[in-house]
Symmetry: C2
């Protein structure tokens, strides 16, 4: 290894340790930290973030990356890990240095104020309290996008932060095809007789919920010697190394499905993180992964597997043994339809598999309008409601259930939302490919076996870490482009059957 690469690795190894420490402090904060620890924790995390940023953006890193340009080459082989390391380190370095520190500070400060204002505004369902903060954030975000740079569409600069290499035009293309088919499908479903799921809202003992979730975690192959599950207010996944991947869930005594599918969702992320090669950890090879790819892995287990009939052929008898009361007399068909109940509703995070995407379309459209200055923040609530009407056919009565529901914009995270639906699309593209290569997968699932599927995702997806973006990986895995077709067919087939359309 060249001296320059060795030196670069040494610096980045320090950055990695600081980032890992910050992640561990974050995990602890959400799981076990007593309330009294909050103030100091914020201070300690801020120092770690500053120190890792200082190291990553030091002039020496810039010089080393210059020296290593030749080693990197123009279009490095994905298997040339040194070249990929340099390429991805450069991405990290440029992203961190392109923004003037003045702007970073202003964004942090504005977001900190905005988050508090957002909470209060949501509480009072009063958008006017949040509007000046959001205006400021949109202005700063536009400035940020200008610094990051883009070809045609300013939105591309923001999207790239979460979905490397993706463009708004490409998202638009995928979403257009989805809208054309999903909006009418949701309309049809909403006119069909509704599925009954009242039996899912009975009392389910939390400890038994937990134990069943752990059984399923073990069965699908989340490795508990290299990870763990805990409880937190908002489920999340975080990883500190190949051998230490943490997921969390949230358990409601009267809503078993919510906690269970949270577990499966985070398990998908966790299995992804456990599948990234050990030697990628603490390096840029594991940083800045496509969120669409990540989401494809969580949605694969949560929905494509976890909300499938085959999965419950095996697991329903086991669940019913644990909850003989609430599930007595519930057969597979009734259960399967209940966990796939579709209902047009106002809140994205409560939405079912099908309508979820429509919530994303609302946000994607509005974000694009905001950052291209075609929509004024003060007109946002009306625009929100119009989009809800357009896609879902329902309009929230108050902003707390509408434009104020999500935390993302108050954090300055504009460009993030589309990755959720890209993940849904990819989850089915990848699953279909896995079944094409291993037609035994659905049968195995019906017998409670998941190794073939999981190992396939390890070998075809996880092992690449951050080396491929969503388009590149999809080409490599399926031989084709990012394509909404399989996902549309999946949803249409599934929900036409469930709703007998």
């Amino acid at each position: 290894m060249s001296d320059a690469l060795q030196r670069l690795r040494a610096i980045i190894s320090d950055v990695a340790a600081l980032r890992a420490a910050e992640a561990i402090l974050g995990w602890d904060q959400e799981t076990y930290m007593p309330a009294g620890g909050a103030e100091a924790r914020a201070r300690h995390r801020a120092v770690l973030a500053r120190l890792s940023h200082e190291r990553l953006t030091s002039p020496e890193v810039g010089e080393l990356l210059e020296q290593l340009r030749e080693r990197e080459g123009a279009d490095p082989d994905p298997e040339d890990l040194d070249a990929q390391y340099i390429r991805l380190a450069r991405t990290q370095y440029e992203r961190a240095t392109k923004l003037p520190s003045r702007l970073v500070q202003e964004l942090t400060h504005a977001a900190s104020l905005a988050k508090d204002a957002w909470r209060a505004a949501k509480q009072a369902s009063d958008f006017s309290q949040f509007a000046p903060h959001l205006e400021r954030l949109v202005e700063l975000t536009i400035e940020k996008a200008e610094h990051l740079g883009y070809n045609e569409d300013i939105y591309d600069a923001l999207l790239d932060l979460y979905e490397p290499g993706m463009t708004a035009a490409e998202v638009e293309r995928v979403f257009a095809a989805l809208k054309e088919r999903l909006v009418p499908l949701v309309q049809q479903v909403s006119e069909a007789p509704q599925v009954h799921d009242a039996f899912l809202k009975q009392h389910f003992d939390p400890q038994v919920q937990w134990d069943f979730g752990m059984d399923v975690l073990r069965a699908i192959g989340f490795d508990l010697t290299r990870g763990r599950q805990d409880e937190s207010a908002h489920p999340f996944t975080t990883s500190f190394s190949h051998g230490d991947v943490r997921i969390t869930t949230r358990i409601f005594p009267n809503d078993w499905a919510s906690g269970f599918f949270s577990t499966l969702h985070e398990a998908g992320h966790g299995i992804h993180s456990q599948g990234v090669p050990a030697e990628f950890y603490d390096t840029p090879l594991a940083w800045g992964k496509s969120l669409g790819i990540s989401e494809s892995q969580s949605r694969l287990w949560e929905n494509v597997v976890g909300r499938s009939r085959g999965f419950w052929e095996f697991w329903l008898p086991r669940l019913a043994r644990r909850f003989p009361g609430p599930l007595s007399g519930v057969d597979l068909d009734r259960f399967y339809r209940a966990i796939n109940r579709v209902e047009r509703s106002f809140i994205r995070t409560d939405a079912d598999e099908l309508t979820y995407n429509l919530h994303i379309f609302v946000r994607f459209d509005l974000e694009r309008l905001l950052v291209s200055r075609r929509l004024d923040v003060r007109d946002l609530p009306a625009a929100w409601n119009a989009k809800m009407q357009e896609y879902l056919g329902i309009v929230p009565k108050k902003d707390a259930e509408g434009v104020l529901q999500d935390i993302h914009w108050s954090l300055g995270a504009i460009g993030y939302f589309p990755t959720y639906t890209l993940g849904n699309v990819l989850s089915v593209q990848y699953y279909d490919q896995a079944v094409r290569e291993h037609p035994e997968i659905p049968d195995e699932m019906r017998r409670g076996k998941f190794d073939t599927l999981r190992i396939w995702t390890n070998q075809r997806i996880h092992r690449w870490g951050a080396i491929f973006n969503a388009v590149e990986l999809t080409r490599r895995v399926t031989g084709g482009p990012l394509d909404s077709g399989p996902y549309i067919r999946y949803l249409e087939t599934k929900y036409r059957e469930i709703y007998r359309l």
Copy 2:
């Protein structure tokens, strides 16, 4: 505040965040980290330790401390927190810079090898496997002591790391008085009819043990909004801020007392940490506290309070309600005698309150001989056994139960052991003083109330953080010197009664 002090505070605040992060990673490692996380965790912790060391020992810190000499003054007022900050920062800086980094690395490396060798040697009960490592560690420790500096006794340099300002001569003085009375007392007790405690070795449901421990934690005033208790293989206390103090315990299904007194011991440390002022945290005002003072607080709650008759007047009925099986028919006298059973044994960590000190005398004597080169490592097992015979009147049959039992020396921690017994001595000096000032304390304890005692320790001991060493604090609290008299009287009175001597 002067510019220099402000700048010093800024640097040390970064050091503090790195240290806090390292402590949090350490806590997680002992409590929740999955086995697979060990390798990366060691790497991450090493980076944090190196970065905080680099910052603390940077030339700028040295220059700032030079500029601040005048502000510090010769013998700063304990209430002048800026001056104390500078003084204690200087202590930290000097301690960190006095040792050449070559020596620090050699020590770390030798200790790392020695720890593995010690484990294997203990497993095989074969001292010869450990001897060459200990020889090397003793040589490096002597070199370390020479760099740290001392007046007359080389041991003073090592002791000062754990017990600031303490000298071997002073320890010798205190220990001599203790030996004179405790060695014969243990002898007398061992000849008296033994106390029966078999009922304590029955099955105690772990969850019920945990719940009872939590009740007592709350009652004595460990603040659970600013702290928590978890389980770990080896109980410990760690604190990340005034609002986040963590203790751990270990629960054995067939040995209720072990887990319970661990909880009380760590709770004493925890109450101490929760009593250090918020503004001392993340500064040298909270670093490098006397371990003797710390141990006085754990022993106060574990032994002076927790193994007293008055404490159990209130708690035994409550414990018996939780464990009606094992404790049926056990009256206060029988219970009190059982939890204070004295037995000469080989293992320090299993020793009772009385014989514990004799194990410390063995180690203190041998450490002094080793670092003054009056004892050769190869002669250590024989010397150990001779000392055991001298103080306890028993001799272990194998080195695993003798010279190989403790991890401390394999870590290079020579000079640490005496602080345990100093803590015992201080626990009674401080408790006696508290009762002199608040004669209602024993009565309150009998009614399950602990506020007067706890608040007294807050106001007289904890609030000073690291500002006073053990001798200074004792003078301030009791008006006199470190004095073994009260501790001897306490032990003699208590154990003569229990053993009817």
